[in-house]
Symmetry: C2
Subunit: 153 residues, 2 copies
Amino acid sequence: MRINAFADVCLRALMLLSASPEGELLTTQAIADGVGTPYNHVSKAVLKLRSLGLVEAVRGRSGGVRLSARGRTTTVGWLLRELDEREDLVECESTEGRSCPLNNNCGLRGALRRAREAFYRELDGIVVSSLPHQSQMEPVFVMLHTRRPELPR
Amino acid sequence: MRINAFADVCLRALMLLSASPEGELLTTQAIADGVGTPYNHVSKAVLKLRSLGLVEAVRGRSGGVRLSARGRTTTVGWLLRELDEREDLVECESTEGRSCPLNNNCGLRGALRRAREAFYRELDGIVVSSLPHQSQMEPVFVMLHTRRPELPR
C-alpha cells in the first residue's frame, strides 16, 4: 500500500516550507534540494500547493514561495484527500475501459473505501506544520545556506 | 492512494474461489477469466495463496485449486498485511539508496504508519469469503461454464 509520488512530494515541500523561518522565501530549486526530489517534480507540486492556497509566491530576483496562513493550518488528511484523484483503491475499471467481472455491487470495493476513510480520518488530526522538528530540519537548512529554523526539538 | 496490483489480484482470486460451490475446482485459466486478469499474473497470485495456506491444489487432468479451511476464514486485513512488503508508504529511502533529507526521525512517516494501521484494522474484521454475493458471482460462473454458486443474495 502506498500514497502516490506526487502527494509525497507535496507533503515534503509543505513540511520544508513550514519549517522555514518567518518571512523567508524558498526558491523551487531550494525546495527540490531540501526534499531530495527532482526540480520538475517539485515545480509541479509547488503549482498545485499554490492552486490549493497553501503557499504564496513572491516574484522577482529574490522571489520564492512561503507558506500561507491556510498552509499553516492544513492537515495531512485534508491534503491527501485533495490529491487523491482515484475513486477506487483497486482497478475496478481498467484504463482500457474493461471492468473487473466482479464489479457488480462488489463488497470488496465498499470495504476498501471504508478502510481508506479510516486512513484519512487518522490523518485529519495531523497539522502538517506541526510535524517538522529542529534536529530533522536544521541540517537541511544548513545545506541550503538559508536562515536556520527555530522549531521544537 | 492504492493497494498494489498483486494484492488486488490475490483478493479477487480468493473472492472467486470463496464463491465456488463446495468441492468444485477452478483452473488457473478459469480464475484468470473469472477475475479479468492475465493468466501469468493470476498464476503468481495462486502460488502465493498456496504458500499462505489459503488455497489447496489438486493435480491431474481434472485438477485445479479450491479454498482451504484457512482460506475460508481469512480476512482482507490479514491478507493485505501479508502482501504489503513496503515498510513505508512513501519513498523515505529511494531504490538508489539515497534517503529523503527529512528522513531523520520524521513525524510524517510515523503519522502515515499509524494511518496505515487504521486502514488495516478496518479490514481485519472483513472475512474474504463473506464478501461474494449471488448477483455478483452468478454471471461470472455462467461465463466460466462451471456449477453456479449458492450465495447470499
